[in-house]
């Protein structure tokens, strides 16, 4: 029983991180229909800021703020330079643009920083663990769970009560009508990117503090997981992204924990089969976006 609880805590921590990542993708998708594969590079940028701050001796708490700020800024700049010119182009054009941005950034990191992983100094406290009865819970797990909860509450309030949040929801539902009501497209889209950068920055801090290093290709895995989670939850739906993130985390951890050792090699394919199984019964995801008027033949 203890073992099961322990694995459940692990699943919550991993699922929470996936949820933050998927939310970042969903945020941009819901407003402009773009799946931003350069989302992972926002994390890499935040990671490099953490690395630089560690070398410069900046206190970790302060470097977290700087790293998140850098991710937000990078997201806004990315939108302005790369995505605004193709805003009215087809979804495929935007998708390819996001791949291009991602690759360009990776090569820049490789050539101007280093092709090799760079160490990030992470406070020792994050490697320690706390005992609750029979449970041993890593401090970084607690940090991940608490951060996820705080972020979800913040986002919920922001989208419900803040002017830009409401505008973003309106735009997600019907962009043309929202514009007719006087909502500025640039503000909404820039806002969505800024928020996705914010989420990427927070997720990057959690991600990097676990692996203690940053490399040019770091963004690939998280963006892939986020993409799967977002599809699983229902593309464009924010609640769906959270649900998808948690479900993916649970699937991965329970498979790693309970699959017999001879089967462990096939863990990832089995996890993806389960995702496909969910999608067979709920083709638009767990919590489909109300704006999704997809009619499938």
């Amino acid at each position: 029983m203890d073992l099961f609880l322990q694995q459940t805590v692990n699943a919550f921590a991993l699922g929470g991180t996936y949820a933050l990542l998927a939310l970042g993708l969903a945020m941009v998708f819901s407003t402009m229909g773009l799946i931003n594969f350069a989302h992972g590079e926002l994390m890499t940028i935040a990671g490099y800021i953490l690395m630089a701050c560690g070398l410069a001796g900046v206190p970790f708490a302060f470097s977290i703020l700087l790293a998140i700020a850098a991710a937000v800024l990078a997201a806004i700049v990315m939108e302005r330079i790369a995505f605004r010119p193709v805003r009215n182009a087809s979804g495929a054009t935007m998708l390819v643009t996001s791949f291009a941005v991602s690759m360009i950034l990776q090569v820049l990191f490789q050539n101007f920083i280093s092709a090799r992983s760079q160490a990030v100094l992470v406070p020792e406290i994050l490697s320690e663990s706390v005992r609750f009865g029979g449970l041993v819970i890593g401090v970084n797990k607690i940090a991940a769970i608490v951060t996820t909860i705080v972020m979800l509450i913040f986002l919920d309030r922001f989208m419900k009560h803040h002017r830009i949040g409401i505008a973003m929801r309106a735009a997600a539902e019907d962009f043309s009508v929202a514009r007719l009501m006087g909502i500025r497209a640039n503000t909404v889209i820039a806002g969505a990117f800024a928020l996705s950068g914010f989420l990427a920055g927070v997720a990057a801090v959690l991600w990097v503090s676990q692996r203690a290093s940053v490399d040019p290709l770091m963004g690939f895995t998280p963006v892939l997981k986020a993409f799967i989670a977002a599809i699983l939850g229902g593309l464009g739906s924010l609640r769906g992204a959270v649900a998808g993130g948690f479900l993916l985390g649970f699937i991965e951890i329970y498979l790693a924990a309970y699959l017999p050792s001879g089967m462990q090699e096939f863990r990832d394919p089995i996890a993806l089969c389960l995702v496909v199984l969910v999608l067979i019964f709920r083709p638009n995801g767990l919590i489909p976006s109300p704006a999704l008027k997809a009619e499938k033949v």
Binding site: Q6, Q7, L14, S117, A212, A257
Partner: protein, 384 residues
């Protein structure tokens, strides 16, 4: 008549490539992509060696080395294309990427052209085995490294072990060699786990290992960055206190900056800069050239590679003919590289090199030893 004259001249010019004054070395390695973290430091080392030799007048004071470099983007197909281009440009030796898979993609081309190829730092003993006569490696084999660490663990009194490996590449299956040697010595394997390369979360595996009773004395893995720090932290956070053994992939600054979790960690690698050693001298040169200390032993491994080629040219009496050089490389003995003495004679292309056993102590490296393993203990190469 003119045409005949020109073509005869061209043909004879090709038959005597530049009167053997330069050795053309083709370098088809990954400057970008997933293998770049390993290939780029090797190339830095190669440049240092080539500049050093050329400044001294060339190999044996007369043959300059000319490098023809191509980026293969860590892609197997691109490696094969780049290799073909280099063959067409008439190189005498080809340097291939660090990983066995892209290196093998070029094997058809180099075998056909009968040009010797050396992988920058692939350590899988299966590479020259599959690659055939023209394929050479430039790193202590996985099976040799695993033998060194298993023997050490057993001699330290550890009797039970657990391995975590990834079937994704040849290199990350090194723990299977470890298990084989450890059992041969009389140790007991308590189990194994697999992971995928790039896996971020090891908490499920760590929780399962922490629940084992009794706990394994040793946990061996050849996982490297970024997965390794994550794995190590997860194991320690779950309360696992076993001795952890790694391999050359974690010989990187990150490992030494992890703090308390990495203390006592032991790993095998290609060299250690003891006082007065060639590696110490190389590191000094590297710092003079690049303005910063080397981040990894792979820099020195690149220097070794050129030293091997230099030795082969000298052994072939200054010949730059590809076939002659292949035979010369295959018969090299005790070439002094930056990291170790290197011998190819009597092997299938996987060189005999020293393995250094390092322990992380107070965030620095401590040399445990540079043992030569008992040949009867070394497992046969296996294709995973």
């Amino acid at each position: 008549m003119n045409k005949l004259l020109i073509s005869t001249l061209l043909a004879s010019a090709m038959a005597f490539p530049a009167a053997a004054e330069t050795l053309r070395v083709g370098v088809a390695t990954a400057q970008t992509g997933a293998l770049a973290p390993f290939d780029t430091p090797v190339i830095d080392g190669i440049h240092i060696a080539v500049d050093e030799i050329n400044e001294a007048g060339g190999i044996d004071g007369k043959i300059k080395i000319e490098l023809l470099e191509k980026d293969v983007r860590s892609d197997a197909a691109q490696t094969s294309i780049a290799t073909q281009e280099l063959v067409d440009e008439g190189v005498s030796v080809i340097v291939l990427p660090c990983d066995a898979d892209p290196a093998l993609a070029a094997i058809g081309v180099v075998t056909e052209a009968q040009i010797p190829a050396i992988s920058t730092c692939a350590s899988s003993p299966t590479l020259p085995q599959i690659g055939g006569d023209y394929m050479f490696a430039n790193f202590p084999g996985d099976n040799v490294q695993a033998t060194v660490s298993a023997k050490w663990a057993y001699d330290e009194g550890h009797r039970s072990a657990y391995i975590i490996y990834s079937p994704d590449t040849q290199y990350t299956t090194m723990p299977l060699y470890f298990a084989e040697v450890f059992e041969k010595l009389g140790g007991k394997m308590l189990g194994e786990d697999t992971h995928t390369i790039g896996q971020q979360d090891f908490s499920a595996i760590a929780t399962r290992i922490a629940a084992l009773d009794p706990q394994p004395d040793v946990i061996m893995t050849s996982t490297y960055e970024p997965d390794f720090p994550s794995m190590l932290k997860a194991l320690r956070a779950a309360g696992v206190e076993s001795q952890i053994i790694g391999s050359d992939g974690i010989d990187s600054p990150t490992t030494f900056s992890l703090g308390a979790v990495a203390e006592g960690l032991v790993f095998t690698t290609a060299g250690h800069p003891t006082e007065g050693s060639p590696l110490e001298a190389f590191n000094k040169t590297f710092e003079e050239v690049n303005g910063k200390a080397p981040e990894t032993v792979f820099n020195a491994v690149g220097y070794d590679l050129i030293k091997v080629i230099e030795a082969a040219v000298i052994a072939a009496d200054g010949s730059t003919d590809a076939q002659t050089l292949r035979d010369a490389i295959a018969n090299l003995e005790n070439v002094q590289g930056a990291t170790s003495m290197i011998t190819y004679k009597g092997t299938d292309g996987m060189p005999l090199r020293e393995v250094s056993l390092i322990r992380v102590k107070d965030g620095g490296r401590e040399l445990i030893g540079q043992p030569t393993p008992d040949a009867s203990l070394i497992p046969e190469p296996r294709v995973q």
